[in-house]
Structures are given as C-alpha cells and as structure tokens.
C-alpha cells in the first residue's frame, strides 16, 4: 500500500534520500509486526500486557505519529525497537530495520544499531542528558562511538555543526555549556542534534514537546519537520496530543489499551474517523480556534486495567455505540470503505455502520450543555470579589557560597493589576516563567504583598488579623495542578475531603454526611471514599482535589492548571465538572493555565501574562478572535490545532526563548522576540526600547492591551 499521501499538504516534496541501507527505496525502513510486550506481574498483580499485537511500518522521510493516552502502551512499543525495555519485559513479534530482525539481537549488536540506525528523543531532555558534561562533549562522544576513527578535533567540529543545524545560535560557545545552563527548548534541540548525529534511519521521539511551552513547541515541531526533510530519516513521534499530530505527521496510528485501533493518513483519520475512540479523542479536545461556546465532550469511564484487559474490544466499556458482541470478540484491524481506502484501517465491529450512516464525532459524543447563565447581571454591577492592584513579587537571587550576597532578583511578578467580579472566571495565561503561579501564591498567602495591594472579598490582605485570615480562608480555596502531589498519599479520600471541615470545626456528627454530599457533587461515590489517592485514576484524583476545595462552600476558587496533567479524554470531563460547579455553587474563579484551548472554553475573561506583566486583558471572545498584542497572537498561533487543513497554515513562530526574568529587556519586555519590532520605524522602535507600555483600553469593549503599536 502506498501511504505517503500526507505529502500533498507539504509544498516541498520529500527529498530523495541517499540510500545508505541495503534495501530498495520503496521498502519500509522500520517494520513492526505483531509486537507484544508484557511486564510480568509482581506479587499479587497479574502480568501487565502493555502492547498486544501492534504492527506498523515507516518509510524513509515519513513521519508516523503513534497517539494514545497514558497507559496505552505507546512508550513500551517505542522502547522495544532499540531494545531499551527493562530485562524482565517479555517481547515477542518482529521488529525489522532495513529488513534485519532486531528482536533477539544481543546487547552488543543492539548497541551498534542504537544511535547509528535508530535513535531516540525523550520527553525530558534534562533527564536524558548527562548533567556533569558539556553538551558539546556528549555530542562528540556520540559521533566518535560510531565513527571510531574520528579525531577529537573533528568530533568537536561535527558537534558544533550539529548544534548549528538544529538552530542553536552561537553554537561554538553553546557547545561548552552544561545541560542545566540551557533552556528547555535548547535542551530539546540538543537532544535532536544527538539523535541525528549519525544520520540514523529511524528517529523515535517520545513525547518530544510535552514538557515545552507552546511557542517553543512550535519551534521544535518545525525543527523535526526540517530534520526529516534534510536527513530523510523516518520519524516516529509518540504523543498524546492530537494537535501535534496534525501539525507534523503524515500518518497516524491510534493506540488504546495496548492495541492499534485506527490507522491511516492524517487527513483520512481526522476528516472521517471510524473508530469511536478516535472520534471521542477528537471531540474531547478543547479548541482554541473555534468560537464554540460549547464545552468539549468527555468520554465516560476510564481505560481498562492493563493487567486484566477485557476479552473483546478494549474500548467497548466506554463506547457509546457498543453492541453485546463488542464485549466478547476482539475486532480485527481491517481496511475501511469499499473499495478500501489506501491505508485507512480500523479495529471496530461497528466501522461499517459508522461509514454507512456517516456518523461523526458530534453524533456519538454530544457536547455537554453549558449550564445556563441566562441573564447575567452586567459585569460592572456585580461586586468585585478579588482585586489585585500593582502586585509585585521579586525572588532574590544570591551569589557566593560562603558570603552570600544579593545579586539581583527574579522579577516574577512586576506590577500587575486586575479585578475579578462575582460569578466570573478570569484566566491568567502565559508561558512558564510568566509569573502566573506566583500571582496565585501571593493571593493565597493572604499577607501583605511586597508591593501593591490584594483585596479578597473586600478585605485588604495587608490588614488582616490572624482570626480574620482564618475566617477568610473558608471563602478562598485552591485546586492544584498535579493531582498526585496535591493529595496526601496516606489519607483516604473521605479523610482528605473531611480535612477542611475539620480544620474549620464543623460539628463531628455532620462530617460523614457532608463528605458524601461533596463527593457526590464531583461525581464520586462511597467506593471512592474508602480508597487512597494511588488507587484512583488521574481524573478521579483531580475530582477529589476539587471536592476538597468546595467542601467549605467557598466563594472564590483559584485553579492552578487544573487539567493540564490529565489525559485528553478525562480533561473534558473535569472541565465540564468545573463549569457545572461554577454555576451551581455561584463560584468566582481565577484560573491559571498555559493551555489556551482549555481557557477558551471555560473563561469569561482572559489575561495574557508575559514576564511578570499583563500584556493583554479582556473578554475571552475578543482576546481570542481579535488579539492585539503580538505576543498574544504568537501564543494563539503556536497552539497546535487538531485539524490537518488548518494546521499547516502560516504560523508565527517566535524565535528564541523568553528573556531572563532576572534581567528583563528595557522598555517593552517583549521587544526582543516581537515579530513587529524589527518592522517598525526608528522612532517607534525607540519608544519600545525606552518606555514600558501600559495597558490601555481599545474602544469601548472590555479589552485592554499593553503595546505601543497595537
């Protein structure tokens, strides 16, 4: 089958690769057949069957995306290729690289293959690079390992050349940097340089951009596309992000519970998914680019236990159109359409029905109705619940081991002002280091800030007595990002939810009843109450975190990245829950997020932060549809869109990294990365360099922007 139809969306054809392998150019470079990976169970637990019958192939110059949620087995499948699975894992099937079987090779032979023919890019480059050696020497080592005759000098030159190729400015100097001296994006570039050092045939990327900010992610995706173009390597990208897939992949393989459930070219799968799971994933994805007032649709239930996968279709228990025999007979991966469309295959008993009846994602997963906020009181007539005025927080930086002296400060938050009205959700968005979380922490401390003023529900935090502060805590609650570290691992769910009630001296005999009531509000029941956080799924844990936060019936809820650690299919469910609770309990929310897509669906107003200041604030609709600040535009354009037609559009990819918050540029802090700045006239540029822009209103609308030239 010919599968590289995805090239039609790429203006430049895949360059004919210089064939190094002994195989004809048409053959796939990597061919995986019926791969099974099993981790033997420990003690009471059964064997964990991570991968159950996976087959795929990639050709030169092709990008295949393997998509799935956590626990789908995608990482195990990838690690099996270079033989990097732990020794106790049982692997069967066949992995052929250029026609040569890799399974069963001994460690020495595999070591020759790794790096030279197959290389990997990991999610966390800080963990994947040796911290005590410079990146240049690590690169040089990679070169010399496989080309032992290279001299040190040549290897060093090659290392610098590789760094230059992956777009690291000032590569000669950067080669002498240690990994921790580089930013996350730079480190990931080094990882890619390392992976391409020996011009491998296949590059496996395991969540290459998950740990990165949106603007840096866009750079890395561009780089991967360039690597494919220049080296002609086949690239397998493992990701959970359907947006990333649409941006760069030619073909996609959807995995669920260790099995491939749908595969095809990106346009085939995105335009007409045939597997209810794929449809669910697409429906559950928040979109930053559509003005949909509706929330993304969640997929109910949780993925099956990999130690005891169901006998039939693994998705049947969560599938909205499952038939009785779906639960007993596993479906085979069969071509769709008559005559079969090239390469599009799906494992679903109901694929023919889906094709025949033209079912789309919206038919299977109706979007949850947004709770009625029918006639809201106009904003200016609602009381202000949170008022932040010129807030600043500088973290001092110290130098010297013995005589520690202050050497400047990280200006995490540098004079921001906003207010939050009753029943309103304000989102603070921005990249990491923008100071969003510091704002939350400053509010939660309920003490006098370093500079400026915070007023919570009419109380100035600088003038609170300890008793007043304690009383105010009842009305101000927080939900944290990482649900696993936000819950005490040694407490049962019931105890966790009871804790705020105990702290605020609720009568003992009412406790159990109230705990059940609160758990029911977030969709959990008695069986969850007895469990501990480790026995819950990510989505359930986040629900417990929310339950703890609403137990005291607060009026103001602060949310710190509430869904960013969750899988796509549960993320939508938690977003819907938050929206529901907000209207039911009359909450006002301050939401901190880097995920602009999620923000668009839940926030009434949005404030964009950059390096400790707000650059744009206003009604969510106008900020998203009519962004005025070049940074907002770049952020929005960097968000991957799960639509192959829209994805390969003209994106504004910001160059470089965000500036050092300890030493921000003078005047406008964005000018060093601003795409508009270089196009301005000399006098206008002078304004940007010398005068920090203030937020100024645009017309009558609720929309203010801090740019001299907006």
């Amino acid at each position: 089958m010919h599968t590289v139809t995805g090239t039609e969306t790429h203006p430049e054809p895949v360059s004919p690769p210089e064939t190094t392998g002994p195989h004809p150019p048409d053959e796939p470079v990597l061919r995986v057949d019926d791969l099974h990976v099993t981790f033997p169970g420990t003690g009471r637990g059964g064997d964990v069957r991570a991968v159950r019958g996976l087959s795929y192939q990639v050709r030169r110059g092709e990008i295949l995306a393997v998509v799935g949620e956590s626990g789908a087995g995608k990482s195990a499948a990838a690690l099996a290729v270079p033989g990097l699975l732990p020794d106790h894992a049982r692997v069967s099937g066949s992995i052929r690289l250029n026609g040569r079987e890799l399974l069963g090779l001994d460690e020495r032979r595999l070591a020759e293959v790794r790096g030279r023919h197959v290389s990997m890019v990991f999610q966390d480059p800080l963990a994947a690079l040796t911290p005590v050696r410079t990146v240049g020497s690590q690169l040089a080592e990679a070169v010399r390992l496989h080309q032992p005759r290279t001299t040190r000098r040549q290897a060093r030159e090659r290392a610098v050349e590789l760094l230059r190729r992956v777009g690291i400015p000032d590569a000669d100097r950067r080669a002498d940097a240690y990994p921790h001296e580089l930013s996350g994006g730079m480190r990931q570039r080094v990882m890619i340089a390392l992976a391409t050092a020996n011009n491998p045939d296949v590059i496996l990327c395991d969540e290459p951009t998950t740990a990165l900010d949106a603007t840096v992610q866009a750079q890395i995706l561009d780089l991967l596309a360039a690597v494919r173009r220049e080296t002609g390597a086949a690239i397998v990208v493992i990701t959970h992000d359907l947006g990333v897939v649409a941006e760069i992949a030619d073909r996609v393989l959807v995995m669920y519970a260790g099995r491939p459930v749908e595969t095809g070219t990106v346009p085939q799968v995105y335009r007409r998914p045939r597997m209810p799971y794929t449809m669910g994933l697409l429906a559950a994805l928040p979109r930053a680019d559509t003005a949909a007032p509706a929330l993304p649709a969640p997929i109910g239930g949780t993925p099956p236990d990999p130690a005891a996968p169901p006998p039939g279709c693994p998705f049947a228990p969560r599938c909205p159109i499952a038939l009785p025999h779906c639960r007993t007979e596993p479906p085979a991966l069969l071509p769709v359409d008559q005559p079969p469309a090239a390469g599009h295959r799906v494992a679903c008993h109901r694929a023919d029905d889906i094709t025949a009846r033209h079912w789309g994602a919206a038919d299977l997963y109706p979007s949850p109705a947004l709770p009625g906020n029918a006639a809201p009181t106009p904003r200016d007539r609602r009381p202000v619940v949170l008022d932040v005025d010129d807030l600043a927080k500088h973290h001092p930086l110290y130098r010297g081991a013995i005589l520690r002296r202050r050497a400047g400060a990280v200006r995490a938050v540098d004079g921001i002002s906003f207010d939050l009205r009753e029943h309103e959700t304000l989102a603070l968005v921005g990249e990491s280091g923008a100071g969003k979380s510091t704002v939350l922490t400053e509010i939660l401390e309920l003490t006098r800030p370093e500079r400026g003023r915070i007023t919570v529900l009419g109380h100035d935090t600088g003038a609170l007595t300890p008793e007043e502060r304690f009383a105010l805590r009842r009305d101000l609650q927080v939900v944290f990002q990482d649900s696993s570290s936000a819950l005490d691992p040694r407490m049962t769910v019931a105890e966790i939810v009871a804790e705020p009630l105990r702290v605020h001296r609720h009568p003992r005999r009412h406790l159990p009843h109230r705990v059940r009531e609160v758990l029911a509000l977030v969709g959990l029941d008695d069986s969850h109450a007895r469990r501990r956080p480790a026995q819950l799924s990510g989505g359930e844990r986040q629900r417990v975190g929310i339950a703890r936060a609403i137990a005291l019936r607060p009026r103001l809820l602060l949310l710190d990245e509430p869904v960013s650690a969750l899988d796509v299919s549960v993320r939508a469910g938690v977003l819907a829950l938050l929206a529901d609770l907000r209207s039911r309990l009359g909450l006002s929310c301050l939401l901190v997020a880097h995920d602009l897509a999620a923000v668009r669906h839940v926030a009434d107003r949005t404030a964009v932060m950059h390096l400790g200041v707000i650059v744009e604030i206003g009604d969510t609709g106008s900020v998203f549809t009519d962004p005025r600040h070049p940074y907002t535009r770049a952020l929005l354009s960097a968000v991957p869109v799960p639509d192959p037609d829209a994805a390969r559009r003209n994106r504004t990819v910001l160059a470089g990294d965000p500036p050092d918050p300890a030493d921000p540029p003078s005047g406008c802090r964005f000018r060093t990365r601003c795409p508009r700045f270089p196009t301005l006239a000399e006098t206008d540029r002078h304004t940007c360099v010398t005068r920090p822009p203030r937020l100024r209103p645009l017309g009558d609308a609720d929309h203010r922007v801090a740019c001299h030239h907006a």
Partner: protein, 300 residues
C-alpha cells in the same frame, strides 16, 4: 446548595471517618509480622517478669558448690564465676534491657521527629536555632556531658539513664527528618492544608509525621539494640546499671571473655538480645508495611 446525595440515585451509606491516625493504623493489627513481633515481645516480657519465679534460686543467692558450671537441671543456664544462677540473672537483666531499650528508642525517635519536623517546617529562625542545637549536640563529646551531668544522673536512677541515653542518640535522625520535612513541606498537599487554614501543629501531626512514619519506625527499630548496647558503655563510667544489678548489656560485656571457654556465660544473654531485636524488627517491618499499604508493590 443542592445535595444530589439526598434526592436522586441509590441510597448510599455515609463514609466512615476514623480520623487521621486511627485510619492509618487500622490495618496494622492484622499484619502477620506485627502480630508475630508483638506476640514475641509479650512472651519476652512475661519471661522476664514471671520466669525467675519458676526457678528455685533467688537473684542474690549464690550456689557455693558450683562456679562456672554448665547448664544442668539444677542451674538451667549454668552459673557464673561467683556461683549465681545465670537463668535468674539473665532474665532479671532482660527486664532492665526491655525497659531501657524500648523506652530509649521511642524517646530518641520522638525527640528526633519533634526537632526535625519543626526545623524542617519552619524555615528561618526556628530552623536555624534547632539545627544549631542539633549540630552542637553532635560535636560535644558525650564524656564531657557525662562529667557535667554525673551528679544528677547518679541520683536519678534508671530514668535518668534512659533520658541520658536518649539525649545521645537523636541528632542524626533529627537531621534526616529535617531534610525529609523540608521536601514534604513543598508538596502541594501540605500547601493545600496551609491554605485551608490548618495550624502548623496540625500540619506537622497530620501530614508531615504520617508521611515520615516509615523512616521513624525504622529508626525506633534500630535504636532498640543500639540503646541496649550503649547502656553498657555508660556502666563503665559508673553510670547506668551497676553491680550487683545486671542488664543484658552488662551480662554480654562480662560474658564476652568467656565466650569460647564457657559459652553459656555468653550464649544465653546474647540469644535473648537477638530474640528481642528480632521481635522489634518484625514489629517495625510489619508496621512499615501496614503504614505503606497505599504505595504500590514495593517489593519486586
């Protein structure tokens, strides 16, 4: 606020709320190691207090017909160089060691936990003061303290001995607890509790200590045998258990010389110490297991 729990859906029981520590320890009594360890400790205690009653010899009685005699129906554990019945004096020694060992171990760990948790939770002045005291206690030679405290300790009897032993053993663990508490402090669940309005004491008792319980239980376990041995050291300088009074420690110290020639002088007291330590270890391991039942399979 609407409460769906009351109106719709199948009726459900309210969850049982046991409280922080009871919930934590609920599983402990059912753990086989906890059961075995406790049973063994109780047996040892029974033996120590009731055992001597079964023997025809008294504690101060001497059998002038047998010196350094091997075990026999007349002297079950044999006799020592002065004709004392080893069965009786070993069990009396066990009494002392049980009390000293367990008490010192628990006190040492409690002091370490208190100092470490407070220092770790409050950065700034409390941390600096407590860390300074800890470091000072680490570097001051015990002998110096002994010389200063000798008059007090001599009068205080075994209680003073216990306090003194505990005072020498808490520092290293306190530093470990401080480090662990500093890490835990940054965890979001501790921050969440703080933002709920929980007091520092509540946070330390409800969140820090339970999550350090593995470390603390292990520390108690190790401290039991350490305290029993350390007590012999004190008796050299004239503190602690003085003749004619005995403890397992002094018996072992005394019996070591005879270990090869008259093994009963050494074997029985050492054997009992091993049993005691084994019981404490079993109990400790069991507790650790029971406390960690939430963490997924720690053993491969």
């Amino acid at each position: 606020m609407p409460g769906p729990g009351q109106s719709g859906g199948p009726p459900q029981a309210d969850p049982r709320l046991l409280g922080r520590w009871p919930a934590l320890l609920r599983a402990a009594p059912h753990h086989p190691r906890v059961l075995t360890g406790t049973a063994l400790l109780v047996l040892l205690a029974l033996l120590a207090w009731l055992g001597p009653l079964a023997a025809p010899w008294g504690f101060t009685e001497r059998d002038h017909t047998s010196f350094l005699a091997p075990p026999s129906p007349r002297h079950w554990f044999g006799t020592d160089g002065t004709g004392r019945d080893l069965y009786v004096i070993t069990l009396v020694g066990l009494r002392k060691s049980l009390v000293i060992g367990l008490l010192v171990a628990v006190l040492t760990t409690a002091a370490a936990a208190a100092v470490g948790a407070v220092a770790g939770y409050f950065p700034g002045l409390p941390d600096r003061v407590l860390t300074w005291i800890t470091d000072l206690a680490l570097v001051v030679p015990p002998l110096l303290v002994l010389t200063v405290l000798f008059p007090v300790a001599e009068k205080g009897g075994w209680l003073a001995l216990v306090l003194l032993l505990a005072a020498f053993g808490w520092m290293v663990t306190a530093r470990m607890v401080r480090g662990a508490a500093r890490t835990l402090r940054r965890h979001e669940y501790v921050r969440a509790a703080r933002y709920l309005g929980a007091s520092p004491t509540a946070i330390i008792v409800r969140h820090l200590l339970p999550n350090l319980s593995g470390l603390l239980v292990a520390d108690v376990t190790v401290n039991v045998s350490a305290a029993i041995i350390a007590e012999t050291g004190l008796s050299y300088v004239g503190l602690g258990v003085q003749p004619p009074d005995v403890s397992l420690g002094t018996l072992i110290a005394h019996g070591t010389r005879y270990a090869t020639t008259h093994p009963w002088m050494f074997g029985f007291c050492t054997g009992l110490l091993v049993l005691l330590v084994l019981a404490v270890n079993l109990l400790g391991e069991g507790l650790q297991d029971a406390l960690a039942h939430d963490t997924p399979a720690r053993r491969a």
